[in-house]
Subunit: 346 residues, 4 copies
């Protein structure tokens, strides 16, 4: 039994971490960090946890926390984790950072897209990009894991086998992504009010969304080429779920069978990636509440493009679930411990 602390436990991703860890056999949560709700009972902030969690929220004190726990999850805004992490802390605890601070290897790229100065660039090299299906062995040895973004996880896993196997033109990629509103967080903003989101749909952050360089970097590693692509996120009137529809030019001679073999090669043994049967399009509801990513594809012979589709729950595989999956690998637990969550339908 290890002990865990959550910095930023009162955001939606933090609450999802609590939900998942509550059912994890090897972990006990010792610290519910929350700058906004210090000394308030956690279950008063999230009444779903009434009679399940009795603790009160504490300050985001990483140093104090490092003395008490074995693993820290930072589910906080960009910049916070980078500003607090130190060798002294990392020598005592392992960290799974759900923010973007250690996802991008090039500091300049990070600083340009996020518009903030990186406060601890010395740890970027060490940090492992925690996309378990791709970097499993490195995650096992990591002290600091950069948990991938929600759009990113869905986009990369949807495209990865084709990038890795060289089946598509890497600079022809267009990713059109749609997300439920929990991805926007629990902050009180007019744009996220029920009446503004319900019965409405829009693109946002067009050509400027911060997950773009993260996707490009990872698909670049996979393909061995530098990748520049289009990524367009959209806000959809639902709580949870990301759906990615990605387009790319097929290389000559690539067939339905080639593509299916590629997906099978990388995902056949993966519990959390389900390659759907031919003709079945992923639906976000089929993965809701679970750590699954559902992927599939369709080849359009008229345009010689492939349409790749992926769906996940942004708070689970897109955040808290993947964070726990990373923790499981880091501590040698069964990778799916605490994550045997069956999708809830309807």
């Amino acid at each position: 039994m290890i002990k865990a602390g959550i910095i930023g436990s009162t955001g939606y991703a933090g609450n999802e971490l609590v939900r998942i860890l509550t059912g994890h056999k090897e972990v006990e949560i010792k610290w519910y960090g929350s700058r906004s709700y210090i000394d308030k009972k956690y279950s008063e902030v999230y009444q779903n946890m009434f009679q399940i969690v009795e603790d009160v929220c504490k300050d985001d004190n990483l140093e104090a926390l490092a003395e008490e726990v074995d693993v820290i999850f930072t589910a906080t805004p960009q910049g916070l984790c980078a500003s607090l992490v130190k060798e002294e802390i990392l020598s005592k605890v392992k960290i799974v950072d759900l923010s973007a601070d250690f996802r991008i290897k090039d500091v300049a790229t990070y600083e340009k897209w996020y518009g903030i100065e990186h406060k601890s660039p010395e740890f970027i090299k060490e940090a492992v990009y925690g996309l378990c299906e791709v970097n499993r062995e490195d995650v096992k040895k990591a002290r600091l894991v950069a948990n991938p973004g929600c759009y990113t996880t869905c986009s990369i896993l949807t495209i990865y086998p084709l990038a890795k196997e060289g089946l598509i033109g890497m600079n022809s990629i267009i990713i059109d992504a749609k997300s439920g509103t929990s991805g926007a967080g629990r902050g009180a903003k007019v744009d996220n009010l029920f009446c503004e989101v319900n019965e409405n749909m829009k693109a946002y952050g067009v050509a400027t969304h911060r997950h773009t360089p993260e996707i490009e970097e990872q698909l670049g590693y996979a393909s061995g080429e530098q990748v520049v692509l289009n990524f367009t996120p959209h806000l959809v009137p639902m709580n949870r779920g990301i759906l990615v529809t990605a387009y790319a030019n097929l290389k000559d001679g690539v067939t339905e069978e080639t593509v299916r073999d590629a997906y099978d090669k990388y995902y056949k043994e993966e519990k959390f990636v389900r390659v759907l049967e031919k003709g079945i399009c992923p639906q976000t509801k089929w993965v809701e509440g679970s750590n699954y990513v559902d992927v599939n594809f369709k080849i359009d012979s008229r345009t010689n493009r492939i349409i790749m589709m992926g769906a996940l729950d942004n708070l689970v595989k897109g955040a808290a679930g993947q964070a726990v999956q990373n923790m499981n690998l880091m501590f040698g637990f069964a990778e799916s411990e605490g994550l045997s969550l069956v999708p809830m339908f309807p």
Copy 2:
């Protein structure tokens, strides 16, 4: 490890049984019954179960099933279970019936409200009304359990302590209930289309809904009086959740404290009934996906009425979760086995 069969496994309640039993340590599902989808893979009917359930659907054959399993869940339309159950079957397996066939002790009342002839009235007396918090000891010894309705469970558990302790005028009770749309089932009807339900709200079955006599009968047992009450269900644009707002006249001298003591007396030790703290109104989202019922109350001294409120997930505590809770009691498992589902928020 016992074996279970589900008759009607492809309705929403059936699918929820599959979701819950999949995580139950003591049960293995051996039979996915579904008249409409015989020989079709279960996971093609419910893609959320892809790579989780590999079985194909079978016919609703209760006799064949009785040879193979230890417990049968019947999640079928009214009348089916009553038409199939026999001593020969009950001597081999235990049955949890999610339909209304054995909920009402008076055959005439059943036949009047449901408009069908009861085909096996001889088992009505034996059947135990499976509201675990009220009839726990009887359920443990039962062969045939009548699993309560969704509206009914929420209504009764919300009012029960006050009825039992004689704190309210039993003929002053008005229950105004609101339900998510999964309660209407998966049948293809215009009234349940997205565009008809979304951005809409209505009452239905006013003064005629079939759950009325079931509530009256159970509250009658609790209070020792014959009870006649108003029950008005409403359809709400959400998938899951029932919210009950119940009104009654307080008897003389009943105070806030008397009422809270009554709730505590019956629910303090109950895992699945959470009496919220003063001033907190139940919300359906706080119990979604879980087996909890959240209840609370407010006294209006101006009118000397009490407003009692309860919330549950109609597919869990209102159907499949309670059915599993009953099964746990019948087979001597821990009552909460398979039911440690933390509510999902948001």
Copy 3:
């Protein structure tokens, strides 16, 4: 052609006033007041108005406004209108106040339920309660109209004929009301975020909601008795719409026919109140975007209670539509001018 000013034009009710007045033949909007968006283009605050409204927002200056327009709508928080209104202003313009400031005749009651001091009690007596179907003749002569609340309009019109004709026990009334989320306004609050409201339902303000005394006062005038009742509002995951389900004891000898005659007596000639045919329950979607109130009832002979139901669009008949209806009466226009809005379905 008269000129109108809107104080608080950037709230949801304010925007609905703009929508309706834009289609009104006799009115031109001259002043878009908005404390929060001074000097910003109105259509940047509400992009639906792009290329329809070219004006910029101005301060909430009632005195300056009185010089420029013939009618002022105040769609502002409680207290504002009362703090600004003066004889000097009322001698120049007519005012339709969408806040609660002049709805309640007893200052003490107002101050107790709203928790603020009334700044101009001298105008309370003069103000006409603008429920057009009830006070039409007085509205025609008014300088200052108190536009009724959304819950109130729906509750009163649903019950009024029975109260007026003495068919129900006035102290047996229980009103269970359900509202879409636009009633909560456009303020940025966590409770009104999409993820908190969607897939969720709750009661709020139980036994303490401010519309209670307003309903009691008006039903008191109708029945000639002092009325104390229960009113419970609920928040529903939809943008627009209020559904009222009201319960009362029927007086002896009152039949289906008596009740239907009462509804016909008061509403047969009313364009905006539709008494539905027997057996049809009102649905909020059937009135969406329009100024209609749909009402109907069901008698439960088992309990001798009547269940009365009403539905309206909270932003139209519950706010802006009724305000325009009042304005039409005050200026001698056709009562339905600008209000021939056909409900939008789906």
Copy 4:
């Protein structure tokens, strides 16, 4: 005052025609056709029309109808209009066909994508494609107008100026479209049940959707090239609204200004196409209930692609509104008569 008949008046598009024509000064609806509801009151099928429409539904008899009215709208499944239209009928009435029967000039293409035989190919040449902003003059002279599809209208109007001006690579176009559920019609299908659509999102008809050849044909006329493109529709949990996100490669030297000039050239004088200001992304809610299309674009200099966005209400500009706009042109009425519908927000 002309007389109109609606064949298929009880579908969602039919009901929207009724809503719009009810407010049209020059038209009186004389025939509410509906195969499924013959002899039933129209307002019993659509209760929003209670006390507004008193007529009963009649059979879909085009010949009888041609004797009684001046214009016929056919809001029916594919194939019906083509099977009924004759010279004898067209010599008496004008027809606006909301189905796809006369949209595609090449019969073979129609028959391939729709999988049915065309029953009156002799009228295809005469039929005018009723995209008013593009074919206004031809529409004015037409006897038979093929009203464009909902996805099609949004896609074409979003891309048209760039295709016409030769600013983009016509074979680089990818259209990712998202639609509310009313586009799926009022048929009772499991896939369109509230619980299947709500909190869910999916692509469908990938690389096979029937609106593809219609878009290709029209953009082909605009650009003077043969066009093959990708079109992917998605189902979104909202009633109304289509959002199109389209991608294309920019030709050399095309700048922000070139593009904006192109949009202005074609749309500056168009009432129903609103080119939003720089940086503002279209939202479906901003056009809900109205005949507007909102368009805008963003250039991504990193990939040298343009992202074009468009939003409309699929039942108005995507169906009934555009049909009325066509009728207005055909009969010489003001083009916007009956269509001054201000978008409803929220």
